[in-house]
Point group: C2
Chain length 425, copies 2
C-alpha cells in the first residue's frame, strides 16, 4: 500500500503541486513518487498552510537550505524577525524555521505562516517550555499532554514540518552527560529540556512513548516529522560517541515506523564534526535510517571560529552534501555568539547554498554542473550580465563592482585582466 493511500493530505497536496515540483526538479513523476514511497524523499507542505509552495527534500531532488529565524529573550522584536524572513526568501532559502522563544509565540508564528510561502518548520516543545519559563517555573515541568496539544495546534495552523526529539532515550541522555565522558554534554535546547524532564520524572521521553499520538496528528495534516537529534555532538571531540549513535538508531527505527503509518519523516543530523569524520557520519546515519532525508546543522568542522561559523559550516555542509546529506540548516556568523541580524541571515543562506552547490557539483548533479558551466562561459566572455544572473547571489556581484559596474574588466586587474589579454592578439 503506497504512502499516498495512507496519507490523504499528502495525496491531495501532491495532486495539486506534484507536476510543477517534478518539473522544477527535472525528475520524472515515477522517480519522485517512488522516493516518497520509500521514505527517501519527503514532500514539505501542510494543506492548512495557505499559499504554501511545497518543496521536495531528499535524493535525487536538489539539496535544500533552511533558514532559522525567531525571537530570543535578549533580542525580542517580531518586526525584525519578519524582515529576516524576507531576507531569507530573497537570499534563496527553501524553507524557514521559526525558533522563537520570547514574546507571543503563537502570534509570531501565525504572522510568519501568513507571510511565508516557503514551508515553515517549528519546535513545538519551545512553546510549551516557554510558558513555564515565563511563569518563573522550571520548563521541564510540562506535562506530555500539553506538548501533544501544542503539536496539534501548530499542525492545524499550517506548520509544514516540526522537530520532535522522539529518539532521545533515558540511557542516551545519561551517556551524553559530562559524567558520560562528553566535553559539551547536551547542546540541543529541546534535548536539554527533555533530558531534564526525564531526570525529574524518572521516566522515559514522553515524545518517544507518545510517538503513536504524534503520528496520528502528523498524518492528518501531512506534517513532516523532523526527528530531532537532541544528542548531537556540541564539540568536534564529542562527535560519533555512543550517545549520538544511540539516538541515531532510534531515529532510524522511528522513521520506518512513521512511514509504515503514512507519515513522512526526516532525520536531523550533526552538529560539530571534524572534517575527517563527516563522510562516515553522513553515510552512517543514512544507512541506519533507511536513507530517510538527512537534515544537517552545519556540520561545523571546527569549534574555534565563532563569528564565522557560516564558513566552518559551509566546509562541513559541502562535505555532507557530497556524502549524501539532503537538507542543510544554515549557520550564520552569529551562531554561538548572538541572535542573527538580517545581514547574518543573508550570509547564512548564501553560505549554505555555496555548500550545496559545491557538494552537488562534486556529485555531478545536472543542475549544479549547468550553473558552473554557464558561469565559466560568461566569465570567459567577460559577460557581466550573465555572470550576475548565474551567481548564487547576483546582488553581491553588483554591489562589489560598484562604480566600475559598466566596465569590461574588473577593478582587480584592470587592463591586466588575463581574459582580456588572452583575447587581444
Amino acid at each position: 500500500m503506497s504512502l499516498f493511500s495512507r496519507n490523504a493530505a499528502l495525496a491531495e497536496m501532491f495532486s495539486r503541486h506534484g507536476a510543477a515540483l517534478c518539473q522544477a526538479e527535472e525528475l520524472s513523476r515515477d522517480t519522485v513518487t517512488d522516493a516518497l514511497n520509500d521514505g527517501h524523499m519527503v514532500f514539505l507542505g501542510n494543506p492548512r498552510h495557505a499559499g504554501v509552495a511545497p518543496r521536495l527534500v531528499g535524493q535525487p531532488a536538489r539539496v535544500k537550505v533552511n533558514a532559522n529565524i525567531g525571537t530570543s529573550p535578549m533580542d525580542n522584536s517580531p518586526a525584525a524577525e519578519m524582515r529576516k524572513l524576507l531576507v531569507a526568501v530573497d537570499a534563496g532559502a527553501d524553507t524557514v524555521m521559526d525558533l522563537s522563544i520570547a514574546g507571543d509565540l503563537r502570534a509570531i508564528r501565525v504572522e510568519i505562516l501568513a507571510g511565508c510561502s516557503l514551508p515553515l518548520g517549528t519546535v513545538p516543545l519551545y512553546s510549551v517550555a516557554r510558558r513555564y519559563a515565563e511563569a518563573g517555573k522550571d520548563p521541564a515541568l510540562f506535562s506530555p499532554e500539553e506538548l501533544f496539544e501544542e503539536i496539534e495546534r501548530q499542525a492545524e495552523e499550517g506548520v509544514d514540518f516540526m522537530t520532535v526529539h522522539c529518539g532521545l532515550t533515558k540511557r542516551g541522555a545519561e551517556w551524553a552527560s559530562e559524567a558520560g565522558g562528553r566535553i559539551m554534554g547536551v547542546v540541543s535546547r529541546g534535548g536539554t529540556i527533555l533530558a531534564r524532564w526525564m531526570r525529574k520524572h524518572g521516566a522515559e521521553n514522553p515524545l518517544l512513548l507518545g510517538y503513536d499520538r504524534i503520528l496520528d496528528i502528523a498524518g492528518k495534516y501531512n506534517v513532516t516529522l523532523s526527528l530531532g537529534d537532541g544528542l548531537r555532538p556540541g564539540a568536534g571531540a564529542d562527535a560519533g560517541d555512543a550517545a549520538q549513535w544511540e539516538e541515531v538508531v532510534m531515529l532510524g527505527r522511528l522513521a520506518r515506523e512513521g512511514l509504515r503509518n503514512g507519515v513522512q519523516c526526516m532525520v536531523e543530523g550533526p552538529g560539530h564534526v571534524p572534517m575527517h569524520m563527516v563522510e562516515a557520519q553522513i553515510r552512517g546515519i543514512k544507512a541506519a535510517c533507511n536513507n530517510a532525508p538527512l537534515y544537517v546543522l552545519g556540520p561545523l568542522v571546527i569549534d574555534s571560529s565563532p563569528g564565522y561559523d557560516h564558513i566552518a559550516g559551509a566546509i562541513g555542509g559541502a562535505l555532507a552534501v557530497r556524502a549524501g546529506a539532503d537538507f542543510l540548516c544554515y549557520l550564520t556568523p552569529a551562531e554561538h555568539v548572538a541572535l542573527p541580524d538580517a545581514a547574518d541571515v543573508r550570509l547564512g543562506v548564501i553560505a549554505s547554498r555555496i555548500a550545496a552547490q559545491a557538494g552537488e557539483t562534486a556529485l555531478g548533479r545536472p543542475q549544479a554542473l549547468r550553473r558552473e558551466a554557464t558561469m565559466s562561459t560568461a566569465r570567459k566572455r567577460l559577460d557581466w550580465k550573465a555572470m550576475q544572473a548565474t551567481a548564487l547571489d547576483a546582488k553581491a556581484v553588483c554591489s562589489k563592482r560598484g562604480e566600475h559596474a559598466d566596465e569590461e574588466v574588473c577593478a582587480m586587474c584592470g587592463d591586466f585582466c588575463a581574459v582580456k589579454m588572452s583575447r587581444e592578439e
Copy 2:
C-alpha cells in the same frame, strides 16, 4: 652536502632565527633541518629584508596563510594598500604578497618591505610588463634581460619569495588555449603575458631557459622561488587537464634542480578544482614535485560564487590542507569582481585560517587540536574571555556580542541556553 652549505644566506638566517622558529612550531631542530634539506620545507626570509620575522612553510610546520595586496589600474591608492597590510597582519596572515600593477611599483614595494615584518612575496614579471603597458606598448615585448635584472633588483631590496612561472612551456601554453579544449584558457596574469611572449617571439619561455640565472640570484639572497602555475585551471571544468600536468611535472623538475643548487623552492597550485578532485590534485602535485611545499590559491570548488569566493575557497582550502597542502593563498569576497578593500582583506585572511584550522584538525595536528579543545572547554564553562582569546578572530566575537558582552549567556538563546540549563539542576 646540505642545503645550508650551498646557501650561505639561508645558513646565516637560520642561525639567527632557527631556534625561535623551531620552538614556535614545536618541532625539533633536526626535524626542521631535515625537512629543509629534503626540500619539503622552506625558510622564508631574505637577509636583506630588515626586521623580517621569517616563516617556515612545509610539513610538518603549521600551515601558513598569505594575503595578496597591491594597487590596480582602476583602484590605485598606495596608502590604501598600506592600510590593508596592517589589516592582514592583524588578522593573522603569515606572509604578504605585493601584486601591485599600477603607480610607482618600486616605491610601493620598498614602503611595504619597510613596514612589514612578515615575509614579502612579489611577481617580478608584473613590474617589467607594467613598464611596457604604461608606455602604451605590448607587455609581451619585454626582453629576458630586463626580467632577470628586475628579479635581482627585488632580491637586493629584500623580497623574501618570488613567483616565477618557469614551468610554463610552449606546448603547455598551446594545450591551455581555448583551441586546446579549455573553457577559460590561461587565467594567470603572468602566465598570460609569458604565453603571449612565446607566441610573439616563437621561442621557449625565457624564465625556463634562464632558470640557471634565476637560481644564481635566488641563492645569493636566499629568495625562495615560488614556482608559479601559469596554467592553473581557471574553471572547475578545466581542472586536471594535460596543460596543467605539463606544467606540474616541469615545476617538480625545477624544484629538484633548485634544491640541488642550494635554492629553496615552493610549488604553486590551483586554482579552480571541484571538491571531488581536490585530494587527487594535491596528492598528485606533491608526488610529482618531491613533496616541495605546495602553495595553493583556494582552490575554489565552484565557479558560481562571485562575491563569496572566500567561502568557496575555504571549502577547497580545507580539503587541500587535509590532503597535504602547506600554504594557502587567501581569496577574498572581491575575487573575480573587484580589488579587495580592507574589510575584504580581513575576511580573506580569516577564511583561510579557518580552512587551515579545519584541515589541520582533521590531520590531528597538536596545535590545532589544542585550540579546539580549549574552545570547547571554554564554551562549556560559558567563559567568554577564554572563548574570545581562543577564537580565530577575537574581534569578531567581541563585536558580535555587542551590548550583551557582559552577560553570562549569548543573545541567541538567552536563558534557554542549553549549557546553562544543563548546569542548573
